[in-house]
């Protein structure tokens, strides 16, 4: 079960090498994203997650807000 985390935990996990993934569409990612985040929109997740992300490292996903 994915663990819900807050801003401070994001910063701590990134320092420890976690991969940050924005799942919003590319145009929103291009405008603003968290430092170091990669873009993997929900629709591309199925086909590209395994190729792009390292399964041995923690992954943090985020979108705009809780919606």
């Amino acid at each position: 079960m994915p663990t819900e985390i807050d801003r401070n935990q994001v910063q701590n996990l990134v320092e420890r090498g976690a991969q940050l993934v924005e799942v919003l569409p590319a145009d929103e990612y291009e405008e603003d994203h968290l430092p170091g985040a990669i873009n993997l929109p929900l629709r591309r997740l199925e086909t590209e997650a395994v190729r792009i992300l390292d399964r041995a490292r923690p992954v943090i996903v985020y979108c705009w807000d809780t919606a």
């Binding site: 079960m1 994915p2 663990t3 819900e4 985390i5 807050d6 801003r7 935990q9 994001v10 996990l13 976690a18 993934v21 924005e22 799942v23 919003l24 990612y29 291009e30 405008e31 603003d32 994203h33 968290l34 430092p35 170091g36 985040a37 993997l40 929900l42 997740l45 199925e46 997650a49 395994v50 992300l53 399964r55 490292r57 923690p58 992954v59 943090i60 996903v61 985020y62 979108c63 705009w64 807000d65 809780t66 919606a67």
Partner: protein, 160 residues
């Protein structure tokens, strides 16, 4: 959207998956740095004056005024111990009876703006509503700084 992504990653074999549920909005509202095309445009948080004087509810107005004027300011933000904004005093309020407390003299519940608002938008809004200064706060109400209309207008003009 992110909960679905998190669950899907787990089903794809990722063992350690986290969901930053409050997301980009929360990050930007805290005034934290972002990357991207918008990052090049100034925003309210970075233009706001972080050195704005602050005071507590119980401080005597006369004492606060002395401190504020000595620092070459004409405004002071009233905050609590968590830096949550409770009130604002501009010149008009600072000129009240010095024996009043800050709580009695302040303008309570001032309009606040988030750090990620574009400075151009802030300049337009502050001019339209004749706001000489506005506190910039995080989404949980904590003070980031005080944005002066003169700064907002000047920097928005430089970006044209």
């Amino acid at each position: 959207m992110s909960p679905r992504a998190a669950w899907r990653l787990e089903s794809l074999g990722f063992a350690e998956v986290y969901d930053y549920v409050a997301g980009k909005l929360d990050w930007m509202a805290a005034g934290l740095r972002t990357e991207g095309t918008n990052a090049a445009h100034p925003r309210a948080g970075e233009v706001s004056r972080r050195d704005v004087p602050t005071a507590r509810l119980t401080e005597r107005l006369g004492d606060a005024r002395e401190r504020v004027l000595a620092a070459d300011w004409d405004a002071v933000v009233v905050i609590n111990e968590e830096r949550v904004v409770l009130g604002l005093l501009r010149s008009k309020e600072l000129d009240k009876d010095p024996e009043l407390t800050m709580e009695q003299a302040m303008r309570p519940g001032p309009s606040t703006f988030r750090p990620y608002v574009a400075i151009k938008q802030m300049a337009e809004s502050m001019t339209k509503h004749m706001l000489g200064s506005s506190p910039i706060t995080t989404s949980d109400g904590r003070l980031v700084g005080l944005l002066l209309q003169s700064d907002a207008v000047r920097i928005a003009g430089e970006g044209k």
